[in-house]
């Protein structure tokens, strides 16, 4: 019974996501046409081109056609899985951004997972002792972690661990001088991952710990906690089986929200550590006025946000039976 309810819930949420994605596609297409700057000029550069050359290229790329026709072509190509060709990278956009997105995920997924579990455990330890030294310390630390500019922290980490101590690589995702394969390659990537992941984790731990502390504190004061204690359960069991599941929803919201944005949210970290992810590609593509790439990144990010939202809703529904039933009624 529960499974089918959950499946229906998922379908309802997906049905709502499809028009959103369509709207995103259209806005995404139009926005690039409103932005000032001429891609053809950027492509030709300062090189003195013969008259008519620009027009010829413009015609070749179909940029002289009416906007609506261009939109139609754009959607048609999207349906075929073609997001265009990156002028600057000499490579189809889809393959390019998917590869870069992978690199970003290699950085963000472990960082978010680590931050989520650390933040929750810290909050579970702090909230039952609200007002204690440990609790105040955690609150202060998370305020600091939350307020530290991530690019500054990143550079400090590089100075400390890479330049002074020579413990970890300062930049990049792989060692450039060697061609590694198999396990040595994986270890090499992990080696490069430590510093940027640490920088991202500090920021998200601070966010998750703050939210989780507040919601654990709230759940602790709920009446059912008294029932759980009155039946003789241990404090530990009350905390993990009754308080935590009830406190998770706001935490899941924060994690889901940040996951959606994390694809491009890592721009600063990727720039500081020269991590070849989507954020990095985004910055260079702006410099190059590489419109197809930018459009592709917008699209991917928007879809990622929508999917993250659907996934968040789904986690709500699996956590809270009340969401399963009322969520369906409103969907």
């Amino acid at each position: 019974m529960r499974r089918s309810l959950l499946a229906r819930f998922l379908l309802a949420r997906l049905g709502w996501a499809i028009p959103v994605i369509l709207a995103i596609l259209i806005v995404n297409f139009l926005i690039i046409h409103i932005v000032p700057g001429d891609p053809i000029q950027a492509l030709i550069g300062d090189f003195p081109a013969p008259p008519g050359y620009a027009d010829q290229i413009r015609h070749e790329f179909g940029l002289d056609q009416p906007v609506l026709t261009q939109l139609g072509l754009y959607l048609l190509n999207l349906a075929k899985g073609q997001l265009g060709f990156s002028f600057a990278n000499r490579q189809p956009v889809l393959g390019l951004i998917l590869q870069r997105a992978q690199f970003t995920l290699i950085l963000m997924l472990p960082a978010l997972a680590l931050a989520a579990s650390l933040g929750i455990v810290m909050a579970l330890a702090a909230a039952p002792r609200a007002g204690s030294l440990y609790d105040s310390g955690l609150t202060a630390l998370s305020l600091v972690g939350f307020s530290l500019p991530i690019f500054w922290l990143g550079q400090l980490l590089v100075i400390m661990f890479a330049i002074k101590l020579h413990l970890l690589p300062a930049q990049g995702m792989f060692s450039l001088r060697t061609r590694l394969t198999g396990w040595p390659y994986v270890l090499d990537v992990l080696w490069h991952l430590i510093l940027p992941m640490f920088a991202v984790t500090i920021y998200y731990v601070a966010i998750v710990a703050r939210v989780a502390r507040a919601s654990v504190l709230d759940a602790l004061s709920q009446d059912f906690v008294l029932t759980a204690k009155a039946k003789g359960l241990s404090r530990r069991r009350v905390l993990w089986r009754h308080v935590l599941p009830n406190a998770l929803i706001p935490v899941v919201t924060v994690i889901g929200y940040n996951f959606g944005y994390s694809l491009t949210g890592a721009i600063l970290v990727e720039t500081v550590f020269a991590w070849p992810g989507l954020g990095n590609l985004f910055i260079t593509s702006i410099g190059n006025r590489d419109y197809p790439v930018l459009q592709g990144i917008f699209l991917l990010t928007a879809i990622a946000v929508v999917i993250a939202n659907v996934a968040t809703d789904l986690v709500y529904a699996s956590l809270d039976p009340r969401v399963r039933s009322t969520g369906l009624r409103h969907a």
């Binding site: 709920q222 009446d223 059912f224 008294l226 029932t227 759980a228 204690k229 009155a230 039946k231 003789g232 359960l233 241990s234 404090r235 089986r241 009754h242 599941p245 009830n246 956590l319 809270d320 039976p321 009340r322 039933s325």
Partner: protein
């Protein structure tokens, strides 16, 4: 029940203070109460009288950091539990004393199936039993279909939730059930059903009960003895029939007038005038004195000892209107009668 049975719960002159931002609050100011095995006892008082605090003190459920028992003793089946730490309480709760609470929706975990919430009690207290089977038995015991084990609290009605909460408590196999306003959140018909169920369960399981309520009618139908509590002090106690026949303390008298919807000379509903007392500054004397129609100078000065009103020693009151033990000679002038 005959009072010769051994006591399952003895509360002796307990003083309990809450620390708040505005200062200390004396929630219990020398409260005493005894419940014998198998006996049903009512604890009657208005909001803020300390009755829920007393109930929670029995299981060490008052907030650890802000509340403190300053004096007195709590004996659970003869064992002193007054000074248990929170860690030590973990081993004591549920058996021999279990508890059900007022609002059955907020006191059930909203995201855990009813069956699981009952099963947790079983696993904790009688792990040797087959859990799923026992959950079904308990649901049947509180007259719920065993299929409800898979339901969530929000899918049940108020009365069903209260039964489920009762099943959670009964799974601990308690010898004393503390029920804190178990019917207050329910409508009148459902109230009657739950009370009938409680009576039935007590008979079948031979379990004692402490029923906390502000409703004298519920006490009359469910309890053999009753205690009247006001501002953290027990003012009067006795067999239900005796107290109902001749309430002694002016506060108890006022409660009865209000409960019967009596009218005064001008035809208005009888109420007890004045405000409930400020527990931040506990009175030297009787806490009811400022509202009492029969207050005298002694009342403000000090709290009288208990006066036993009948031979069977089952009805007693703490009020200056009655002769103090040991001053029978001077008593005649003060006995006015309630």
């Amino acid at each position: 029940m005959s009072p010769t049975k051994p006591p399952i719960l003895q509360i002796e002159d307990v003083r309990l203070t809450f620390r708040t931002r505005e200062g200390a609050i004396r929630a219990l100011n020398g409260a005493s109460l005894t419940i014998h095995e198998g006996e049903a006892v009512g604890l009657v008082g208005e909001s803020g009288s300390g009755k829920s605090t007393l109930a929670r003190a029995v299981l060490g459920l008052n907030p650890e950091r802000s509340s403190r028992i300053e004096a007195g003793r709590i004996l659970m089946a003869g064992r002193d539990v007054t000074w248990l730490s929170q860690g030590e309480w973990e081993g004591e709760r549920g058996h021999p004393v279990a508890m059900v609470f007022q609002d059955p929706l907020s006191f059930l975990n909203p995201i855990m199936r009813i069956g699981r919430q009952i099963a947790e009690s079983i696993e904790r207290h009688t792990p040797q039993r087959r859990v799923a089977e026992r959950v079904g038995e308990l649901l049947e015991l509180v007259k719920l279909p065993s299929s409800l084990a898979r339901a969530y609290p929000h899918e049940l009605s108020g009365g069903m939730r209260q039964r489920a909460l009762l099943a959670v408590a009964l799974a601990c196999e308690p010898r004393l059930l503390v029920a804190d306003e178990p019917t207050t959140a329910l409508d009148v018909t459902t109230q009657a059903e739950i009370l009938a169920l409680l009576r039935d369960l007590r008979e079948r399981l031979g379990m004692a009960m402490l029923l906390i309520t502000h409703d004298l009618g519920i006490v009359a139908s469910a309890c053999e003895r009753l205690y009247v509590i006001y501002a953290g002090r027990v003012l009067e106690w006795g067999r239900t029939q005796n107290v109902f026949a001749a309430p002694a303390h002016p506060y108890t008298v006022g409660l009865f007038h209000a409960a019967r919807a009596d009218r005064d000379a001008k035809g208005r509903f009888a109420t007890i005038g004045g405000e409930p007392p400020d527990l931040g500054e506990p009175a030297q004397g009787c806490p009811f004195a400022p509202r009492c129609p029969k207050a005298m100078t002694e009342c403000v000065r000090s709290m009288p000892d208990a006066t036993v009103l009948d031979q069977g020693e089952s009805h007693a009151v703490r009020c200056w209107l009655y002769p103090q033990p040991g001053d029978a000679a001077s008593a005649s002038g003060r006995v006015v009668g309630g």
